[in-house]
């Protein structure tokens, strides 16, 4: 700090104070609702219904979660969502990065056309019915593969990775090619390890997307064992309070140990926690600007 002259010269003015206060208030407005969900879910449901909750839970208790977890479908849905986030991301990383690598090869015949075709998919939206019919025709209805297969090649990720690979010095690869290594070997041994920063970005994006996805589930999967946590949350939110309470655990509800609203808060928190856990990783990308550079290019 000391060496920075502009800092020394700088005086804090009323504008700075107002600016920080207003933007800070907005930042709080962005985070507080999530915090509120957490403290509500940890509040005694009867007290929560009667008094205002601001900063701390009213009558701290984990009873709501206990009641909720007695239902098997929460754990199963959380497992389905987590599993699709992991396996879907792996598939996306492997396929999208290799395709991106191939697209950087000038000697690839039809490269420009393939790339155009890929970019157009970002703007292509046939609509829900064609999507439904095509996926059904491929036998992906009520099939776990529906969650992870269609996102194997995602245009946005391919472009990100391709731009990154193009920034790698060509000598790195040429040396290996001279030694007679094939494209695939060069990719796995040299390109892939160098691409780790951009692949990490894509992985976080893909995992968050997978975790948040529910429309595929909603349109095409009726199998209760394949229900995602997001869709389960939606069903909880849309169900009538009385049905929800009956459904959950009549005894616990009757004893006023929990309420429908508390249940909704709990399952929301469970849906939100994984995003909160991976979110700090985004912070790095803000600074690095990996994303922005490639969006421009």
């Amino acid at each position: 700090m000391k060496g920075n002259k502009s800092y020394k010269r700088y005086r804090i003015r009323p504008f700075d104070v107002c600016n920080v206060l207003i933007l800070g208030a907005f930042a709080l407005l962005c985070m507080y609702p999530f915090y509120y969900l957490i403290i509500y879910s940890l509040s005694n449901s009867t007290q929560a219904a009667r008094q205002d909750i601001w900063l701390f839970p009213a009558g701290f208790t984990v009873e709501n979660y206990k009641v909720l977890f007695r239902k098997a479908d929460i754990l199963l849905a959380a497992f389905v969502s987590a599993s699709r986030a992991v396996s879907g991301t792996l598939i996306t990383i492997c396929c999208s990065s290799f395709f991106a690598y191939l697209l950087t090869k000038k000697e690839l015949i039809g490269r420009k056309i393939f790339y155009r075709m890929l970019v157009i998919t970002m703007y292509l939206n046939a609509g829900i019915i064609p999507y439904f019919i095509v996926m059904k025709a491929y036998g992906l209805k009520n099939n776990y593969l529906l969650y992870i297969l269609p996102s194997a090649v995602v245009a946005f990720y391919v472009i990100l990775i391709k731009t990154y690979i193009e920034g790698i010095p060509a000598e790195l690869e040429e040396a290996a090619r001279m030694d007679g290594a094939g494209y695939f070997t060069v990719f796995t041994k040299i390109i892939f390890p160098v691409c780790v920063p951009v692949l990490a970005t894509v992985a976080v994006f893909s995992a968050v997307n997978q975790w948040n996805s529910w429309q595929d589930n909603f349109y095409l999967v009726r199998d209760r064992n394949l229900k995602t946590l997001q869709l389960l949350l939606l069903e909880y939110l849309q169900s009538m309070d009385s049905t929800l309470i009956n459904d959950i655990n009549t005894a616990a509800a009757r004893a006023n140990r929990t309420s429908a609203l508390s249940m909704k808060a709990c399952i929301s928190v469970i849906t939100m926690i994984p995003i909160m856990l991976v979110y700090p990783f985004f912070q790095k990308f803000f600074v690095k600007g990996i994303l922005v550079g490639s969006v421009k290019g």
Partner: protein, 308 residues
């Protein structure tokens, strides 16, 4: 040069080129199978689809389904209108992330700046279902805000904002802004970081004050980025997202929140009118494509650069 390339086209393919092509083809095939194949689904829009029959056994009805869109009693016009309203509201709020970024970049303390940026970007990464859950906790009749207002005697009885038709457009617009402003600002932040610092020094020498610098240097610096994004925004004006409007939909606000994508869902998968629903989806895509090319051409004329 041209002659060389031509000869190159006729020469025998090298072994490595063939291998490369063979490796790329599965991915190209994948794109065709999972993306482009869906376009064949548009054929259903010209049929009177009956379940249980093969595609070639369906009867062709020409543009009948498209005429039905505008028939009396069809809700298509309303859904189209709502999609456009949300699209236009999206365009109108498009400068907000840029403004947010300009003011954010005025914060000198980088720690405070980064904290605000990180916090305000968070809502972008959660699903609309969770956003709905939060709104339910705060704004529904049993929600926190209602309880406070009722207890304080400001409201006689609780009002449910989620089923308030008068506020529906504005409410959904504000939710969209809240969810996306922080994240959208990031691209502007990097555009601002790319502005030549000497410009600011020169402005200092000329005696420019802070607001003049914000206006004439920072704002000018991010305008190109803004216009690129605006073009992309305009082209997706009819693409009001399914998830937001599906989760917030309820009978009280059905007149406002029914957009083309939710309407196509309800007609197609809800009522089973596959052909009619395909026509709805198709009309939405056509509007988008026409807009994209029009705006792109316009941008080319104005700036000399095409966006896509």
């Amino acid at each position: 040069m041209d002659a060389l390339q031509k000869r190159g086209g006729r020469r025998k393919l090298k072994k490595s080129e063939v291998r490369l092509l063979l490796m790329a083809l599965p991915f190209v095939l994948f794109i065709i199978v999972f993306y482009y194949a869906q376009l064949f689904g548009w054929l259903y829009a010209f049929m009177d689809y009956k379940a249980g029959k093969a595609v070639w056994e369906q009867t062709f009805v020409g543009l009948e389904n498209f005429k039905k869109l505008f028939a009396h009693g069809s809700r298509f016009i309303a859904a189209f209108r709502n999609s456009m309203i949300f699209g236009v509201l999206g365009i109108l709020t498009a400068p907000l992330p840029a403004v947010f970024a300009i003011f954010l970049s005025e914060i000198r303390n980088s720690k405070i700046k980064r904290t605000i940026q990180t916090m305000s970007s968070f809502p972008n990464f959660i699903s609309w279902i969770l956003v709905f859950s939060i709104c339910f906790m705060f704004f529904s009749s049993q929600g926190q805000i209602n309880q406070i207002l009722v207890r304080a005697g400001i409201l006689k009885e609780s009002a449910n904002l989620l089923s308030n038709a008068d506020a529906a457009y504005i409410f959904q617009m504000l939710l969209g802004v809240w969810k996306s402003i922080g994240w959208s600002a990031i691209i502007y932040m990097s555009a601002i970081a790319g502005i030549d610092p000497e410009l600011y020094d020169a402005a200092d020498v000329d005696g420019a004050n802070r607001f003049q610098k914000m206006l004439y240097i920072t704002l000018q610096g991010i305008l190109p980025t803004f216009f690129v994004l605006l073009v992309l925004n305009v082209s997706s004006i009819a693409n009001a997202g399914f998830d937001q409007f599906y989760v917030f939909y309820n009978p009280m606000v059905s007149e406002q929140l029914e957009v083309l994508s939710t309407y196509a869902y309800r007609i197609g998968l809800g009522n089973g009118e596959i052909s009619f629903a395909t026509a709805i989806g198709m009309s939405q895509s056509i509007v988008s494509i026409v807009l994209l090319f029009t705006v792109n051409k316009l941008a080319k004329k104005l700036t000399g650069n095409s966006v896509i």
